[in-house]
């Protein structure tokens, strides 16, 4: 029987299958960070358990880290305490840790792929909802809670029911200035923030095939914002070329064996999905969110919607609340909205490719006098590569602050955050109330749109800079 990519990986990882209670699937890679793991390690300690396969577990510090300093003594006390607990736990339980002070540190979803830890056909989990990022390699990757982190540490397996499958097929050529971020924001706008709840999405079609690994990661990353358990893309030559020669990629005869297996990881002709959505690349324009949910999104050519014209009462109520929180009036042109801060970063859009395209737009120009703009590379390696290419100079000469790697203002757990009432053009993934700081207002968009907004002090159509 023809199978989908998801079904192949699912079946390949079944330790125990059950329709009656629950199946157990094996986890090939477990990524750990400082915020969602302390209670899991403590649980192991209390029940006198060990990590079953510490060599399949890798940890880093990203949510809490300062992006201004690598000096431990200058980090805020509670953040430092949580990082120190992770370091102690990793030492006690024998887990490899890329700690705050090392150059290998970075956002967990950036360092997994760049080290070659993330590979096609794997089941990958992490106590973080953006784990779907790794699905860009044709792996089944999803976020889990802390109790599940403890479960995976103890058993190297996860209790799971089989998900429903959704195919999102995007065909055609993306227009000028239209990026993978716009593709995923457009999809969320179309299907809604719970449109894919209970599903694993496979993204396919000629548009996806033409994307780099970085672009594919951006799309898979935000699958959770459509409610999906995971997002995935079948591996191809682009994937294999990316993986070749990375630190943890297979080598020698293992590379050949792995490659032969990876090439089987695609949805068979005739395989059935529970739901199919088709999208034309030509229909997608640069996207910007106007509200407090990623599904509240329009194109840059549009205006802020009028809640009173929304038919569904629940959605109408949500739009009303959002406009109050965002301090926006209906029918305002998106391109008229002024901003205070700019954040180029996050696991969605802080890879080297994002920094390259953004730097091209701002080269030789200046950040608007009223705007405070920061660039936070996704990892120490991204930062080093960008500096090698001179991108840091382009950013700093334009007036951006060039920071150390971390999650930073995507969630504002460290000291990078919006103040009450401040409005931000952000390349991150969530525009929830207070997400980037209590009372802060977030507009999500592509890295290109973010830097264009930095130059003008307002949200603007990046296409005029191309």
């Amino acid at each position: 029987m023809p199978k989908t990519l998801y079904e192949k990986i699912w079946e390949d990882h079944l330790v125990r299958e059950s329709q009656k209670d629950i199946s157990l699937i094996y986890v090939d890679l477990h990524l750990v960070h400082e915020v969602t793991s302390p209670q899991a390690f403590e649980g192991l300690r209390q029940s006198n358990r060990k990590i079953r396969r510490p060599e399949k577990t890798f940890a880093t510090m990203d949510h809490n880290v300062s992006t201004r300093t690598k000096d431990w003594s200058k980090v805020e006390t509670t953040s430092r305490a949580q990082m120190e607990v992770l370091a102690k736990n990793c030492q006690e339980f024998g887990v490899t840790l890329y700690d705050f002070a090392t150059q290998d540190q970075g956002i967990v979803h950036v360092i997994g792929p760049e080290k070659g830890l993330t590979q096609p056909g794997m089941v990958i989990v992490c106590g973080d909802s953006h784990t779907a990022t790794h699905g860009a390699f044709g792996s089944l990757a999803f976020g889990i809670g802390t109790s599940e982190v403890e479960h995976v540490l103890a058993t190297q397996t996860l209790q799971q029911d089989k998900a429903k499958t959704m195919l999102i097929e995007i065909n055609g050529k993306l227009g000028k200035g239209v990026t993978p971020k716009d593709v995923i924001l457009y999809i969320i706008g179309q299907i809604g923030t719970s449109g894919a709840t209970g599903y694993v999405i496979e993204y396919a079609g000629s548009t996806i095939r033409a994307l780099s690994m970085e672009g594919r990661m951006t799309i898979c990353n935000m699958s959770i914002e459509a409610g999906a358990r995971a997002g995935m893309i079948a591996p191809d030559e682009t994937t294999f070329a990316y993986l070749k020669g990375r630190e943890f990629s297979p080598n020698g005869t293992n590379w050949e064996k792995a490659l032969a297996y990876w090439k089987t990881l695609l949805t068979d002709t005739g395989a059935k999905f529970d739901k199919v959505i088709k999208i034309k690349a030509e229909d997608i324009k640069p996207q910007v969110t106007w509200g407090t949910s990623p599904g509240q999104v329009v194109s840059i050519e549009d205006t802020v919607p009028d809640p009173e014209k929304i038919v569904d009462p629940v959605e109408r109520g949500a739009a009303r609340n959002a406009l109050v929180y965002m301090d926006l009036k209906p029918e305002t042109a998106m391109s008229e909205i002024t901003i205070d801060k700019v954040f180029l970063g996050s696991c969605t859009n802080a890879r080297i490719e994002d920094l390259r395209v953004a730097s091209k737009i701002i080269k030789g120009k200046k950040v608007h006098a009223k705007v405070h703009a920061i660039v936070v590379p996704g990892s120490g390696q991204v930062k080093a590569q960008a500096e090698k290419e001179g991108l840091d100079k382009i950013f700093t000469e334009a007036g951006f602050e060039w920071r150390y790697a971390g999650c930073s203002m995507c969630l504002g757990m460290n000291d990078d955050r919006l103040n009450k009432g401040e409005r931000c053009a952000s390349s991150s993934n969530r525009n929830f109330e207070g997400r980037q700081g209590p009372g802060g207002r977030t507009h999500l968009m592509s890295p290109e749109m973010v830097v264009a907004a930095a130059l003008e002090g307002k949200i603007t159509d990046v296409r005029k800079y191309l």
Partner: protein, 204 residues
């Protein structure tokens, strides 16, 4: 985990869709290293007027006298979306919530609740509408959730049936330790690892 069989408690209506885990428990409270004490920060930004949480917002539902002792939350679609933080169910549970009723729940949040003794009750949108109406007319009313029967019953005797995955139900009913449960299959895990070693040597 404390077993869950039946629970009767006051229903607090929180009439918003897409309530995310950032709203349930904001990031500044995620720096703790234990599971306790999150209840006072539940819905922090809606519940308090100041960042420090010293001034209550009198308009917020849980600050109203009749809902201070609420243990059942009635809300809208896609509750618990966003971040995977288990601090969200820890905060709900620490505040006292044992049951949440909504048309739908986010996936990871659903799993997290089932591991913390919180029963999530999915009802049809129309049924949730009806409950909102009833709660508005009858402030401080109580609801009984019965997991054995898979029902919720209002104080005026109206009964709603709900579906729940059988395994989740068993775990809640018996307060099962899920790691203990999985460890019964140690042989299968070992056999699986031997198989990977042979078939996928690059992963072993």
């Amino acid at each position: 985990m404390e077993p869950f069989r039946t629970h009767t408690g006051i229903v607090a209506p929180l009439d918003r869709a897409n309530i995310d885990t950032d709203a349930i428990i904001p990031k500044q409270f995620l720096k703790k290293i234990d599971r306790k004490g999150f209840g006072k920060h539940l819905f922090h930004e809606w519940r308090y007027l100041d960042y420090e949480g010293t001034k209550e917002n009198p308009d917020f539902i849980l600050n109203k006298q009749e809902y201070r002792q609420a243990t059942v939350l009635l809300t809208r679609d896609n509750f618990g979306c966003g971040s995977s933080r288990e601090h969200a169910p820890w905060a709900l549970s620490d505040f006292g919530f044992r049951v949440i009723i909504a048309p739908s729940f986010a996936d990871i949040f659903f799993n997290n609740c089932s591991k913390n003794g919180i029963l999530l009750v999915p009802l049809r949108s129309q049924e949730v509408d009806d409950l909102f109406k009833e709660v508005a007319q009858n402030k401080g009313t109580r609801i009984t959730a019965d997991l054995e029967k898979r029902t919720v019953e209002t104080s005026n005797g109206k009964e709603y049936r709900f579906d729940i995955n059988e395994f989740t139900r068993e775990c809640l009913l018996n307060g099962l330790d899920q790691i203990d449960w999985t460890e019964k299959f140690k042989d299968k895990i070992e056999a699986f690892e031997k198989k990977i070693k042979k078939e996928k040597p690059w992963l072993a």
